[in-house]
Amino acid sequence: MKTVRIGAGQGFWGNGQFGAINMVKSGEIQYLCCDALAELTLAILKKGMKKDAYAGWVNDLTPLMFKILLICKEKGIKVITNHGGLNPAGATAEVERIAKELGITGLKIATVTGDDVFDRLGEFEEKGLDLSNMDTGESIDAIKERALFANAYIGARPIVEALDNGADIVITGRAADSSLFLAPLIHEFHWSWDDWDKLAAGTLAGHLLECAAQSTGGNFLGDWWNVPRMEEIGYPIAEVRENGEVVITKPVGSGGRVSVETVSEQMVYETLDPNNYIVPDVIADFTSPVLEDLGNDRVMIKNMKGKPRPEKLKVFIGYQDGLASSALLLYAWPDAMKKARKMEEIIRYEVNKLKLPIVDFHVDYVGLNSVHGSAAPMPADEDSINEIGVKFSIKTYDKGAAGKFAGLFPSWALDGPPALAGTGGFASGPRELLGPWSALVDRNEIEPNITVSYREV
């Protein structure tokens, strides 16, 4: 039976590139798929575009392409990535530039656009489409004047079209993560667009690859200390059979571990209702597949079930939501906690005295409860605390208030509780906050506007 091997190259913007390089060198793959976008990423890209309108794509594409493009060309490995972010054409131009610099010819690069619907929000409203927040039901009116970008999560179809037309590299914007991985399977196996079980199997394979090493022992909360050679962790490979059976594995000789535990842990990652894992291509049932450990870092997945694709696509809108300003102060033993608490008392007093127009005030005791909050127990013996960081953060819609808040701290190095480490530079910000807004829009409003264009080097 025909088998296709797809390798993961990247799980987010900023991932190291050892995994991708190792993958194209020794993964014995036909496709390398990279997921460079998280919800947060589009917000960062939008901020960057304020300074440089031609930016907007994920710029670790440049070193990645310099390192892998020659090998991919030589081995015939096709690359699919959503590095395009808010400017897929910009990313394509960059790949073209790099290919020329490397002396590569005969390379076809496809660009998928049409996911960016920011300029169409007014049109959607005129048509009476409901853009209410899918989580809270709130009306779009609350944020529409502050919206900065809006992208629909689009599916595998334009990527399949690009591959059918002979593309070697496919650059997308906000394609759904799993669709990047499903597309080459549909292209290779000619799976029908309503063969829901197979589309679900490919989607699950994509879900297991889209966060790179999170399936191979990275971020593993089991016996992570036994994960072999984490420093050279291999990224996952999906070896997919035409009948929809999937084996998850990793390049031979790489570090990391592929076991039922590492794979099933990733199955729950960023999953809401696992009976209905909704992506543009299918609704996958993550409670259906059976996992079997084959040994040698191979896990077999069978019996995946799917249901018809959703009629609506998710549109993710980022909106300006004020500013954050924060400061971190580090107090030393003895009585570190008492000093930090006194400082909290002082800062609360100052904020009230100045009547700063803040909408949120948040205090973290770093080293104690800044991560687990109220679920973190207090130590029985406070004297055992060697040092404590106390981090003060505010959210405000007033730029002046953010600046004034940052200015509250330096004095207390001399005027406040003793043994504060560092006397300056502990305030940070203000930084812009971008709110997340997800709405559901009929796919017929989005998909006719999706286009695939080609450049040849």
Partner: protein
């Protein structure tokens, strides 16, 4: 038969992540024989109480018997969402670890 109080970490691993202002945290038992124990005792209500004030919305639970897991969806749990929160753990990566601290009762013979 005597019962013993243990932390979930003794029988489970976990993973968590963000979706807008929601966090999901899945817990998975290492040994299938422990699955009925967590299904019975680790309820949505108990999870909501465990997290306290950082989870402002509802908690939903979904069983995944095929991988011996329960997935919990914590609504309004991230202080606004990854790029809109004052929380240090802005991607919710540590919520799963927090759940492993929860205490349950288990028959000693099952350990």
């Amino acid at each position: 038969m005597s019962k013993k109080t243990i932390q979930l970490r003794q029988i489970c691993h976990a993973r968590s992540g963000d979706k807008a202002n929601n966090v999901n945290a899945g817990i998975l038992v290492y040994n299938p024989k422990h699955y009925p124990v967590i299904v019975e005792q680790v309820t949505a209500e108990k999870v909501k109480k465990h997290f306290g004030e950082i989870v402002q919305g509802n908690v939903e639970s979904y069983e995944m018997p095929n991988i011996n897991a329960i997935n919990f969806v914590l609504r309004k749990a991230l202080g606004g969402g990854a790029s809109d929160t004052l929380f240090i753990d802005n991607l919710g990566k540590c919520y799963g670890a927090s759940l492993l601290r929860m205490e349950i009762e288990i028959e000693e013979s099952l350990l």
